[in-house]
């Protein structure tokens, strides 16, 4: 089956600043694809191009087999989205906003009974009062308005830009359940986030973006292959450490030895560990956070993207 989203060497210039600098992204049907990166890395710009709100300066983007810029209105019938910075009309109530956005997406001939049922259910699970005016909603409640509007009408593709920002942990769970539900229907999801635990829990595959390029893409397991696993254990007083093959950065502090091995070479050190005994052994695969820091840590923190988009 063809990919739901494909971009090839996507570029976007804002004046002199390059928001995207040759971005290659692929989202397969039925998968939840994490789109990770710090603020200003180009996540929202990519999403705006995929939604046909802005046009790529160079490169190619295909969404559901169409051109997101030329076929925007037609494609959007099959896409649900939540923008990165949710604004609502101050003088429209939440209920009116949800109804309006649903009507704009589905047209008049759609299944209204199903929509109403779904809307009521979502209002209930997200605990949202639809009668409040837009200006009276807190950030979290504005986010809920956008989420209910996105989930109330079925779609083949969900493009969500940091959808849980402002939600409390209980609501994050509700969101995760809804995401699981739409995945059951076979829909694909592009989930932009900088909350690593969220991506780690939900996503089948992920792409890490930095300064307008995808620097890493794959499943969490695949990404872990690129990094090292940390091994640590207690060293009894006076014991002599054997030599471990493939061990890197071995240190002994406060009676504990620590070293790292390539994640696909963990098995090679196990025999030596067994011989030594290795009391209090801990083998820790790298967390997504460590993967992330590998790309952004150190000098990465000193590279805030200039565009801010």
């Amino acid at each position: 089956m063809d990919a739901v989203i494909t971009t090839e060497s996507l570029r976007k210039q804002y004046g002199r600043a390059a928001a995207l600098d040759g971005l290659d992204l692929e989202v397969a049907p039925g998968e939840i694809h994490g789109f990770l990166g710090p603020n200003g890395a180009g996540k929202s710009t990519t999403i705006r191009i995929l939604l046909g709100l802005v046009r790529a300066s160079a490169g190619r983007a295909t969404v559901l087999g169409g051109d997101p810029w030329k076929d925007a209105a037609r494609l959007h019938r099959r896409i649900a989205s939540v923008p990165g910075d949710v604004s609502v009309w101050p003088n429209l109530s939440g209920g009116e906003t949800i109804d309006l956005l649903a009507r704009l997406r589905q047209g008049r001939d759609s299944d209204r009974v199903a929509y109403r049922r779904e809307r009521e259910r979502l209002l209930e699970v997200f605990e949202l009062d639809p009668r409040k005016k837009g200006r009276a909603y807190s950030k979290g409640n504005r986010q809920k308005v956008a989420l209910v509007a996105a989930f109330a009408v079925p779609a083949e593709l969900y493009i969500l830009d940091e959808p849980t920002s402002g939600l409390d942990p209980l609501m994050e769970l509700v969101f995760q359940r809804e995401l699981a539900r739409v995945r059951e229907t076979g829909a694909a999801v592009l989930l932009s986030s900088h909350i690593l635990s969220e991506v780690e829990q939900l996503c089948d595959r992920m792409s890490i973006i930095r300064s307008g390029r995808v620097v890493e893409t794959g499943t969490l397991a695949e990404l872990r292959h690129l990094t090292r696993t940390e091994v640590s254990f207690e060293v009894p007083h006076g014991a002599v450490l054997p030599a471990f093959p493939d061990a890197h950065d071995l240190v002994v502090t406060q009676g504990r030895a620590r070293f790292t091995v390539d994640s696909d070479a963990v098995a090679a050190v196990l025999p030596e560990l067994a011989r030594f005994g290795a009391p209090g052994l801990r083998v820790e695969p790298p967390s997504l956070e460590e993967l992330f820091l590998r790309h952004y840590g150190g000098d990465g923190a000193g590279h805030p993207d200039s565009s801010g988009r």
């Binding site: 705006r48 939604l51 046909g52 709100l53 802005v54 046009r55 925007a72 209105a73 037609r74 959007h76 019938r77 896409i79 989205s81 923008p83 910075d85 949710v86 604004s87 609502v88 009309w89 101050p90 003088n91 429209l92 109530s93 939440g94 209920g95 009116e96 109804d99 309006l100 956005l101 009507r103 704009l104 997406r105 589905q106 047209g107 008049r108 639809p130 009668r131 409040k132 005016k133 200006r135 009276a136 956008a146 509007a149 801010g308």
Partner: protein
């Protein structure tokens, strides 16, 4: 820098460009009026004749100041002081809301109030900011008038009266912003207070006691209820009396005190008047881009249509009065003839008022197009364009509402004019032809402003709001006041409202209709073509 200094500094920086425009515009109006006075009412006799007519026909006093004799300076005050006060009042009222309720609404106030600046210091900085703005306004107005050679004393009184009244309206809006929940509502309350004061003062003057020579009027008590009345009773270049301004000072002290007390006792973001909750479900009409644009603009449209209705009534109702003025004052005759070509004076009155109607309709159109820009800058265009709505379709919704606004304003004017004709003792229904032709012509002229603003929106989004309003102001200055200020004809005719079809005597004069239509077709076509290729341009 002290905390207070920082708060004041950020206000001055944020408003510098905007206030410079208000203040320079107001001062320029004061100076330019002198040119108009010497041009149109050069002799003492002409001025005395106009004053006598005004005193005898109180309706005129509704739209002018307080007659204080036929001297050049005093006459200038009679013509323009209420409008200088009105400009200062709008400037000050918007300033009050911008730095209080609007800041609160946008969450900036929360950011500031969480610092040791707390709750009252920002309000105090806003008060000082307004004092500075009105002082500069007073100084520049005085300087502009003094520069004409009329004398410094009267100029100083005129400037002070303008600034003091402006500050009083600032204080009124400051209290209004404490009472209501949104900046939109606070601005609306401010505008209504200003317009109601203006009319009350006019009625008070009209109901006042004229002097024996019909050159002066003592204000009635209604006028003394309003800052307009206080400012006008200083009578610049006549009595030069600053005592009425003590009322302004007293009102400012009391109102600012009240605002501080309210601010000190209420919660951030709260108001005395609670807000109603909305509908749980959208009505069927809130569906497409047009339904949305209509929902967002309908209140404003209704306001413009009501303004059109009033203008229409005045157009035919006032013509009886104007008839008398014009026969007695050659200068007025010249002015009205210039606008009406060779028509009767009743026709001329309709043409003048319907030119104002054209300005109202243009304002309505520009405001509706600016709404599209606000939607984009605020981020509410993004979810609409991310739904199944094409770029052109989205913008066409706003443009259609703008067109509907023009229609509503002009139809309001035509209905008002019909009511005005019907209310006259000897109703002259032949005037209706002039009303219909001029109304339709001004609708076309307003559509030119719609199309030009739309083109700016498509090509240079960030300029939409300033450019749109600047177009209307320039169009109004050239088309409506150009003849009064003696501009050359070619310059006046740059303005669409000055070349719209009209009636001259028995004939319909199409004037620049072809050019107006051409501008609409070309501008509209270009906007539509370019809009299809236009990217979203969020704020920033």
């Amino acid at each position: 820098m002290s905390r207070f200094g920082a708060l004041l500094g950020v206000r001055l920086r944020r408003d510098a460009a905007q206030l410079a425009l208000w203040i320079l515009g107001t001062a320029a109006l004061a100076g330019l009026t002198y040119v108009g006075v010497t041009g149109s009412y050069g002799t003492e006799q002409e001025r005395a004749a106009l004053l006598a007519t005004a005193v005898a026909n109180p309706v005129i006093l509704l739209f002018r100041g307080l007659p204080s004799g036929a001297g050049e300076g005093a006459f200038l005050g009679f013509l323009i002081l209420p409008f200088l006060v009105m400009l200062a009042a709008f400037m000050s009222s918007f300033l009050a809301v911008r730095h209080t309720r609007a800041d609160e609404e946008e969450g900036r106030a929360e950011l500031v109030s969480a610092t040791p600046a707390a709750r009252l210091l920002p309000l105090a900085a806003t008060v000082v900011h307004a004092v500075i703005a009105n002082t500069v306004l007073a100084l520049l107005c005085a300087a502009a008038v003094a520069a004409t050679g009329l004398g410094v004393r009267g100029a100083a009184v005129l400037g002070l009266a303008t600034g003091a009244a402006g500050l009083t309206f600032f204080a009124l809006s400051l209290v209004a912003a404490q009472l209501v929940r949104t900046s939109r509502a606070a601005n609306a309350v401010g505008v209504w207070i200003i317009m109601a004061s203006f009319v009350l003062c006019g009625v008070g003057n009209a109901a006042g006691t004229p002097s024996a020579d019909a050159q002066r009027v003592e204000s009635g008590w209604l006028a003394w209820l309003t800052p307009f009345g206080w400012a006008e009773n200083t009578r610049p270049y006549d009595r030069d009396d600053l005592a009425p301004l003590l009322l302004c000072a007293l009102a400012v002290v009391v109102l600012v005190g009240a605002a501080l007390a309210l601010q000190g006792s209420r919660d951030l973001g709260a108001s005395l008047l609670p807000e109603r909750s909305g509908r749980a479900r959208a009505r069927a009409s809130l569906a497409g881009p047009f339904g949305l644009a209509w929902r967002l603009s309908r209140g404003a449209l209704l306001g413009w249509a009501a303004g059109g209705l009033v203008t229409g009534v005045l157009a035919t109702r006032l013509s009886a009065v104007l008839d008398q003025v014009s026969t007695q004052v050659p200068a007025v005759q010249v002015l009205t003839q210039a606008l009406a070509r060779d028509g009767s004076l009743a026709q001329a009155a309709v043409v003048i008022f319907f030119t104002m109607l054209g300005v109202l309709a243009s304002c309505c159109a520009v405001q509706s197009i600016c709404r599209a820009r606000q939607e984009e800058a605020r981020g509410t265009a993004e979810p609409v364009l991310s739904a199944s709505v094409g770029r052109l379709h989205w913008f066409a919704g706003h443009a259609a509402v703008a067109g509907l606004g023009i229609l509503a304003t002009v139809v309001g004017g035509i209905l008002g004019a019909a009511v005005g004709i019907a209310s006259l003792a000897d109703a002259d229904w032949s005037l209706l032809e002039t009303v219909l032709v001029t109304g339709a012509g001004q609708a076309v002229a307003a559509a030119v402003f719609l199309v030009l603003t739309a083109l700016v929106f498509v090509v240079a989004p960030r300029l939409t709001i300033p450019a749109g309003w600047a177009l209307v102001v320039v169009g109004m200055m050239l088309g409506l006041f150009g003849p009064l200020f003696g501009f050359p004809q070619w310059l006046t005719e740059v303005s669409p409202i000055a070349v719209a079809p009209t009636v001259a005597g028995p004939d319909v004069d199409l004037r620049g209709l072809v050019w107006l239509l051409l501008a609409i077709v070309l501008g509209g076509g270009a906007s539509a073509l370019l809009m299809r290729r236009r990217e979203l341009a969020p704020a920033g």
